[in-house]
Every structure is written in structure tokens, then in C-alpha cells.
């Protein structure tokens, strides 16, 4: 009886404790290489990220990326918003982090955990959209700066008192347009194309209205001088009556 009880106890312990532990041990032994591979990949990612950061920093400095950024107006973002370092340092750091992130994702995938694998697969399928959206945003920002500055200078030279507002407005409209396109790429807000069209169309109408206003301002001024301000003849402007060349 005592032996039976002892045999039963042994079976119970074997089934309840030993076997799960053995299974865990076997799984752990199978998991260990994956874990080690994963840690190794992560370390490689960190090292490679640092190396890439340094290499790209040198390349960007060699090609004078900061000067190019200044020329196209991108530099202003960094100067005004007090971002640390230069644009070349920022992009080099970004490239380093992207490398680390990619290796981290591969490391996680190498753990062979089905749910995480599935999640990462979906994430990687979505990644091209994110990348495209980022490119659209970056170009949108560059164009908005460029066109905003062009509008500002043109408005100042045309003598518009609210020139700063015109420049900021153009910059904002272009950036909003690029942001809506980026969101469309990410699948956020399916109606954004319609909104973007409305913005573009509204912008064109506004631009035409401004252009018409500029084109006709001399006629309007002459008309007002003749009919409203007749006794007080305006002095002639040097730009209108002598040749500067």
C-alpha cells in the first residue's frame, strides 16, 4: 500500500512538476540559440548604426549638405526650432537609428514567437507606406519653405505691407497639401484627396485674384486718383520714371 502510494506520488510529481519542467527545459534549450542570435543581432545593429552614423556624417559634411539645406530653406527649421546640431548630424543620427531599428526588428523576429512574427510581418508590409509618406512630407517641407520665401520676397518687392503674412500663408498651404498627400499614403482619411483638391483649387483662385489685383492696381490707382484724389497729385516714383540701368 505504502509502495502504491509512493508510486502514485512519484507519477503525480513526474506529471505535474518534472514533465513541464523538462518540456520547459527542452523549449528553453531550443529558444537559447534564438535568444543569443537575437542579442547578437541587436549588438551588431547598435554597432552598425554607430558606424553608419559616422560614415554618413562625414559624407554629408564632404558634400556640404548643410549649405545645400540653407540654400533651399531647410536650414531655417533647424535654426529657428533650436534643434541640436546641424542637418547633416540630424540625418546621420536618423540613419543610425533606422539601422538599429531594422536590426532590432530582425532580432525580435529571430526569437520565432508566432504572434510577434505576425505583427512584424504586418509592420514591414506597412513600412513602404510610412517611408513614402515621410519622403512626401520632407519634400513638402522643402517646397513650402522655398515657395514661402519666394512669395515673401516678391511681396516685399511689390510693397505689400502684409508681406510676412503672404509668405507664411503660401508656406502653410503648400505644407498642408503635402501633409494631406502623406496622410492619404498612410491610408488615413480617405477623403483627403477631395480636401487637397479643394485646397489647391482655392489656392489657384486666390493666386489668380491676387495676380489680377496686381495687374490691375495701376488702373485702379489711376482711376482713384482721377476720381477721388484729383486735387492731390501723387509724386512720381523714381522706379517708374527713370532707367536704373
Amino acid at each position: 500500500m505504502a509502495i502504491k502510494v509512493r508510486g502514485l506520488d512519484m507519477n503525480f510529481i513526474q506529471r505535474i512538476l518534472i514533465e513541464p519542467l523538462e518540456r520547459f527545459y527542452e523549449q528553453f534549450l531550443t529558444f537559447i540559440p534564438n535568444l543569443l542570435t537575437s542579442i547578437a543581432l541587436l549588438i551588431i545593429g547598435v554597432v552598425l548604426g554607430s558606424i553608419l552614423r559616422l560614415i554618413f556624417l562625414k559624407i554629408f559634411r564632404a558634400i556640404n549638405l548643410d549649405k545645400i539645406a540653407q540654400r533651399i530653406g531647410l536650414f531655417e527649421m533647424f535654426a529657428r526650432k533650436g534643434a541640436r546640431g546641424s542637418l547633416s548630424a540630424f540625418i546621420a543620427r536618423l540613419i543610425g537609428w533606422i539601422a538599429i531599428f531594422i536590426f532590432a526588428a530582425i532580432a525580435v523576429q529571430s526569437l520565432r514567437i508566432p504572434s510577434i512574427e505576425n505583427l512584424i510581418e504586418r509592420f514591414f508590409l506597412y513600412l513602404p507606406n510610412v517611408f513614402t509618406a515621410l519622403v512626401i512630407l520632407a519634400f513638402g517641407y522643402i517646397f513650402s519653405n522655398f515657395l514661402g520665401r519666394a512669395a515673401l520676397i516678391a511681396s516685399v518687392n511689390a510693397g505689400i505691407r502684409r508681406a510676412g503674412m503672404v509668405g507664411r500663408f503660401v508656406k502653410l498651404v503648400v505644407f498642408i497639401l503635402s501633409a494631406t498627400m502623406a496622410m492619404e499614403q498612410l491610408g488615413i482619411g480617405r477623403d483627403t484627396v477631395l480636401i487637397a483638391f479643394a485646397i489647391v483649387f482655392g489656392g489657384i483662385v486666390l493666386a489668380l485674384a491676387i495676380a489680377f489685383g496686381f495687374g490691375g492696381r495701376d488702373i485702379a490707382r489711376d482711376y482713384l486718383q482721377r476720381n477721388v484724389n484729383h486735387p492731390k497729385e501723387q509724386e512720381k516714383d523714381i522706379e517708374d520714371h527713370i532707367n536704373p540701368l
Binding site: R149, V156, N157, G164, D237, I238, E239
Partner: protein
């Protein structure tokens, strides 16, 4: 930077069959006078008559041709050129013509602008193997037959390659010339050419052919940049240069539609491009040489010009308020501080010293050289500063005579010369 090419470009007006027929009928010519035009029907007739009379009176034994290179006028400019003629030469000639006179009026090809018109004139000069050429503006009201003699004679008779004009102009006329182009040309290239962008020039057939070897016809040179490009190219390539005193320059008022900032951009842009083209030439120059002057110098009466200083000051102040962040990339801290103070100054205290102005121009040249910001943005942001400088000049010279104004411009040139060594240092 400019490149060198050979032959007529794909946009050459000479490729047209009718033009080739006309040219083959003429064969060769000794003298060519070119008139670029665009909607100048009301003024070009006088210019054509003056040219025709000048050629008949001073070069009766030379085979001559008048070329009107038109930019697509819609007011019948080319018809006026064809129809204009001097019926009775007896009043101006003491002897009869021996050689022939021909006239061609053709629309030029390429970018609309004065430079493209000149290109067609150079091509015709080369095709006809002419010895001497002259170009005169189509809106001139003060041109006389003597201008043709003065622009052509130094080339035909004295072996000069380039004849720059010398005029008496109103003290407020030619402000880009007086404040930027003349001081820069004189300081950089060491030749005292007083009107480097005067618009009316004489030059040899050899120089016209040389101009055509340069591939500049898609740049600002195709527009208002042509004048400074012709002058600087002639100086920097060691062609023989002189000046001809033509008297007063009176022309139509500037087209009100013409954009000042675009004009400034094209002229100053071409000047800065030429600095990139010939750095080894201008870096070596340390003094200014006098350039010989042909013609009898005399005083002339000039038409008065009204100036609205208040509006100019407003434009400068607007620029200082809105474009300050852009100027900060280009100008030194000291200059920026000065401009900020100047923007707040009342009209009676408004004064932009020569030192500040020369520093501004050199700083913009350096910003263009180092490509600090987009070139068009850079040069167009110069407009309010130029207007401010012009306002300061007008305030300071309100009571000044012509000679006093010349002395003042001379002092500005000396300031450019004083700052040149540090400019060369910063250029490296």
C-alpha cells in the same frame, strides 16, 4: 559659370530660309548697326533715321547694313523699320554715297530679352564678315548721326575692339550703374569704364565672333545681363577698349510693367557670374587705368526727374522688417545692426554710408559665390537695400551739381577699392 561653344545654336535665327536668302544676296559688309526692339514703333523710326544718316554721312565708301532684331513686337515695330527712310540726303551730306546700304528686320529666337536680340545681331555680323558693329537702343530720343561715327570710328580707324558709351545723364538716372555695376567693374577689372551697361556700344567683327563662342544664351545674359557681359568679356579677354562721348542720353521712361527686382537680379546676377568666370583676372588687379575717350565733351541740359523718397523709404523699411532673417545669412552682424537702426531713422537722418553699401554688395557677391541661399532669392532680396541706398543718395545729392555727384560716385568707388583685399580673402 559660362561655357564655350562653336557655331550657331539650335535656336539661331539664321537657320531660317528667308534670312539666309537675304544674307547671301548681301554677301559681305563693312559696317553693321544693330537695333534690338520690342514694341518700340513710336520711337524706333527716329533711331533708324539717325543710323541711316550717320552711315551715309560718315561712312559713304563702306558697305553698310542695319539690323533690327525684334522680340515679337505687336505694335508694328518691324513695319516702321522697313518703311522708315531718309528721302532727301542733301541736307546732311556733302558727298554722294558710293557703297550700298541694306536693312534687315527679323524676329530673334530664344529667351525673350535684349541679350537674345544681340545674339542674332552678332550672328549676322559674323555671317557677313563685318569689320565693325554698333548697337543702339530703340527707345533713344537723343541719338544723332554723330553717335554712329563715334561708336564705329575708333574700331575702323584706331584698331579698338570695344567702344563703351559715355553720356551726360541726370544725377538720378542709371542708379544700378552708379551704385553697383560701375564701382564693381572699375574695382575688379581695373578699367574706368563709366557706363559699362550703357546699352549703346561699338565693337569689332572679331569681338562679335568671340562673343558667339560663349554659351551664355540661356542665362541672364540673354536678358538685361548682356551689357555687363559684353563689357566685362571684352576687358577680361584683353580686347582694346575705349569710350566715346555721345552727349545726353534721353530715352523713353522705363516700361512701368518692367519689374525692378527682375532687372536688378539679371544685371547683378550676370555681374556675379562673371566674377566666377574670371577670378584670376580680377584678383590680380590692384589699380584703376584710365580708358581713352573719343569725342568732344560738352555740357548738356537734362530732363528733370521727380522722386518720391517717402515711398522708397517705406519699401526699405518693409524689407528691413520682413527680410531681416534672410539678410542675416548674408550680412555681417555690424551691418545688420546698422540696417536695423537705419530702418527706424527719420527721413532727415536717413543715410547709408559708402562703407556699408560696398560691404553689402561684397557680402551678396560672397553669398552668391558660396551658394548660401538660392541665387534668385538672394538677388531679389537685395532690392529693398538698393532702394534704401538710392533714397539715401537722392537725399544727399538733392542740391548737388553734376560734378559733385560724379565726385561722390568716385568716393564710393574708392570705398569699394579699399574693401577689395578683405573681399578677396573672404572669397577664398
Amino acid at each position: 559659370m559660362f561655357q564655350t561653344i562653336d557655331g550657331n545654336g539650335p535656336r539661331s535665327a539664321l537657320k531660317r530660309q528667308d534670312v539666309q536668302t537675304k544674307l547671301s544676296r548681301i554677301g559681305k559688309a563693312d559696317i553693321l548697326v544693330g537695333i534690338p526692339s520690342f514694341n518700340n514703333a513710336h520711337s524706333i523710326g527716329h533711331v533708324v533715321r539717325a543710323v541711316q544718316a550717320g552711315l551715309a554721312k560718315y561712312f559713304p565708301d563702306k558697305k553698310t547694313i542695319l539690323v533690327n532684331s525684334d522680340g515679337g513686337s505687336t505694335d508694328g515695330t518691324m513695319d516702321v523699320v522697313h518703311q522708315t527712310t531718309i528721302d532727301d540726303f542733301r541736307s546732311i551730306l556733302v558727298s554722294h554715297r558710293i557703297e550700298s546700304f541694306s536693312k534687315i528686320a527679323i524676329p530673334y529666337h530664344g529667351i525673350p530679352g535684349k541679350g537674345s536680340a544681340f545674339r542674332t545681331i552678332f550672328e549676322i555680323a559674323r555671317a557677313l564678315d563685318v569689320k565693325a558693329c554698333a548697337v543702339v537702343d530703340s527707345d533713344l530720343r537723343s541719338i544723332t548721326p554723330e553717335w554712329i561715327e563715334l561708336l564705329i570710328k575708333p574700331v575702323i580707324g584706331d584698331g579698338y575692339d570695344y567702344v563703351a558709351p559715355l553720356y551726360h545723364r541726370h544725377k538720378y538716372d542709371g542708379t544700378i550703374t552708379n551704385s553697383i555695376v560701375y564701382p564693381l567693374t572699375r574695382t575688379l577689372y581695373g578699367k574706368d569704364v563709366r557706363q559699362p551697361i550703357g546699352g549703346d556700344f561699338g565693337f569689332s567683327g572679331r569681338l562679335a565672333a568671340f562673343y558667339l563662342t560663349k554659351n551664355v544664351w540661356e542665362s541672364d545674359v540673354a536678358r538685361y545681363g548682356i551689357d555687363i557681359w559684353m563689357t566685362t568679356t571684352a576687358i577680361a579677354n584683353n580686347f582694346q577698349i575705349c569710350q566715346a562721348f555721345l552727349g545726353a542720353k534721353i530715352h523713353d521712361a522705363k516700361d512701368p510693367g518692367a519689374d525692378l527686382s527682375a532687372m536688378l537680379f539679371q544685371v547683378v546676377g550676370a555681374t556675379f557670374d562673371l566674377m566666377e568666370e574670371y577670378p584670376q583676372t580680377w584678383k590680380r588687379v590692384v589699380s584703376t587705368e584710365h580708358v581713352p575717350v573719343f569725342g568732344f565733351t560738352y555740357e548738356v541740359g537734362l530732363e528733370p526727374v521727380n522722386v518720391n523718397i517717402q515711398r522708397m523709404l517705406e519699401k526699405f523699411r518693409l524689407g528691413a522688417r520682413e527680410l531681416g532673417p534672410i539678410w542675416e545669412y548674408i550680412l555681417s552682424r555690424d551691418t545688420m545692426d546698422f540696417l536695423t537702426g537705419l530702418a527706424d531713422a527719420p527721413k532727415e537722418d536717413f543715410h547709408m554710408p559708402d562703407r556699408i553699401w560696398a560691404d553689402i554688395i561684397y557680402s551678396f557677391a560672397l553669398a552668391a559665390h558660396h551658394k548660401v541661399i538660392n541665387k534668385e532669392h538672394l538677388l531679389k532680396s537685395l532690392t529693398p537695400l538698393y532702394i534704401g541706398r538710392t533714397a539715401s543718395f537722392v537725399i544727399e545729392t538733392r542740391e548737388a551739381s553734376g560734378q559733385e555727384v560724379e565726385d561722390k560716385i568716385n568716393k564710393l568707388c574708392e570705398e569699394y577699392e579699399r574693401l577689395k583685399p578683405s573681399f578677396i580673402e573672404r572669397w577664398q
